[in-house]
Symmetry: C2
Subunit: 352 residues, 2 copies
Amino acid sequence: MDLLNETLAKIQPVNPDCLAQAQAALDNKTKPLGSLGRLEEFGRRFAAISGNLSPDTEKKVIFTFAGDHGIVEEGISAFPKEVTPQMVFNFLRGGAGVNVLARHSGAEVRVVDVGVDYDFDPQPGLIVRKVAKGTKNFVQGPAMTREEAIAAMEVGISLAFEAKAEGVAMVGTGEMGIGNTTPSSAIISAISGKSVREVTHRGTGINDAALEHKVRVIEEGLRINSPDPNDPLDVLAKVGGLEIAGIAGLVLGAAANSMPVVVDGFISTAGALIASELHPHARDYIFAAHQSVEIGHRFMLERIGLVPILDLQLRLGEGTGAALAMGLIEAGVKILKEMATFTEAGVAEGEY
Amino acid sequence: MDLLNETLAKIQPVNPDCLAQAQAALDNKTKPLGSLGRLEEFGRRFAAISGNLSPDTEKKVIFTFAGDHGIVEEGISAFPKEVTPQMVFNFLRGGAGVNVLARHSGAEVRVVDVGVDYDFDPQPGLIVRKVAKGTKNFVQGPAMTREEAIAAMEVGISLAFEAKAEGVAMVGTGEMGIGNTTPSSAIISAISGKSVREVTHRGTGINDAALEHKVRVIEEGLRINSPDPNDPLDVLAKVGGLEIAGIAGLVLGAAANSMPVVVDGFISTAGALIASELHPHARDYIFAAHQSVEIGHRFMLERIGLVPILDLQLRLGEGTGAALAMGLIEAGVKILKEMATFTEAGVAEGEY
């Protein structure tokens, strides 16, 4: 069996007994029942995912997948394509948004070249697993072959298995790829049947005329390729991206390894959506970091069945939202692990 | 001039030039314009409040004000009054929710006894500045005298001045006081003119019948005391609390000292509301940590003019939300201080 199918076969639902045990432990802490709201949810889910009522959260890694997009030829982005490798160098020097926020949360950033149209020299912090030098322009045919899409997913899957073996407690997703809100909108439109206009926004900041053009380009790409909404790999290959495939693989690999995975914003969630369409229990392992400004994001989260942790009007990607959310998820786990119980503290319980 | 009026006279609006300079610095960072949303707001405001484009965030202190409430005699809480000192001991041992979350954010918790009905021995972490052994039952007359309310506010003011002198970069508010959602609802009802029912919720978790009773108790307290909505000190004294007064003072003291103050949930915001009614520019220095489950909270935030940072369905108080929000505010400041500019990183800028 190939790695993708092996991974899918390993994914189990999260154990409901473990969720209940974690909640019972939270209910003994010195606070009114349920008064720490979603922090309790984070602690409970993290414990159940890890199968451990006192889970470790120390080692946190954000994988920022980078890939280029042939569709950039159509003029759908405010930034030139060269910015993809330029930003990879910025990540490697520690100067980008995700670096700052990951340092703040105690997470490590690893950049994965799964499809950048540039030859990087080997260097610390960069993982080169290039499947292709970018996707093809999807208004002229499929962005990738099905084999390329699977190969890029398997990059993400392998990284999840390696992270588990290394003792990583929680992984996060991030991405860099000029033009990549365009395939992300195409994916949610293809899968949900919603109109392109409903799920397409300004990306890095295009104006009204450019937004109109972007909508038409995506409509044309969907018309030409007719991706099959019931075949997530077909959608991914025809109108997706290599970094989006890498993220889908990381999510599935995390789920197969009982590792919590924090999914960043719009583009990352496109990857998580593919994963979730491929396996109904992938979602059990996902924390949705934040609600992006991109209008299609809401529909993706609803379809997967996730409620975002933060709403800070972010639209940068890279893994910036995941870095912030990791801090809050870890806080929830610490509530479970570190708070005193009523008995330990000698505090009287309430009557409801 | 007394300390309260001296403090009010010192409060200045935040410098708009400094806000603009901070935003200009953010606009040169390697990201699309505005793409870090509210993180940029946090960085910009923190810089302008501190009057420093590269502000320090290292030393963070949460002041958790504790006080008892005579109104507890009316049976408005799910927990007995003894829990106030019991929880103070829990704070001092580091086992409460606020301790866990403050450690996570790198903040120190200082507990301030401004009105607990219990004699504490001096001990590390506890600041005893008791004004009274709890408020009086406000269905039988005013909760405090005007002098007591001012004295409790001046405790908070003094702590802010001391914190500034000590090099504290950011303060947070928190509270403990069994029964204290009741005076908080009374305050927002008195000031806004909204009905008691619209602004009163379940506190630590009372049932429907107890909620009905709580509404009637607050209505009766407002009827008996007729606090003057145009005199915030009158409202505070007649239906407020000693810890709420302490928080109001901390907010004013922080504003007078150009120190950002992170206001926790419902009860803390009642204190911030009093501060904001006393001085129109107090709000410039406040970060609203989170949207509480308590229904009156929204009206308080709207009246002050603040948008909460988090919505995690919290309703514990203590400063738990402030501790979490401090981490996000600090993240925003680090974006301003640590991210590379387009020039530094050799990244091409976008065209919009």
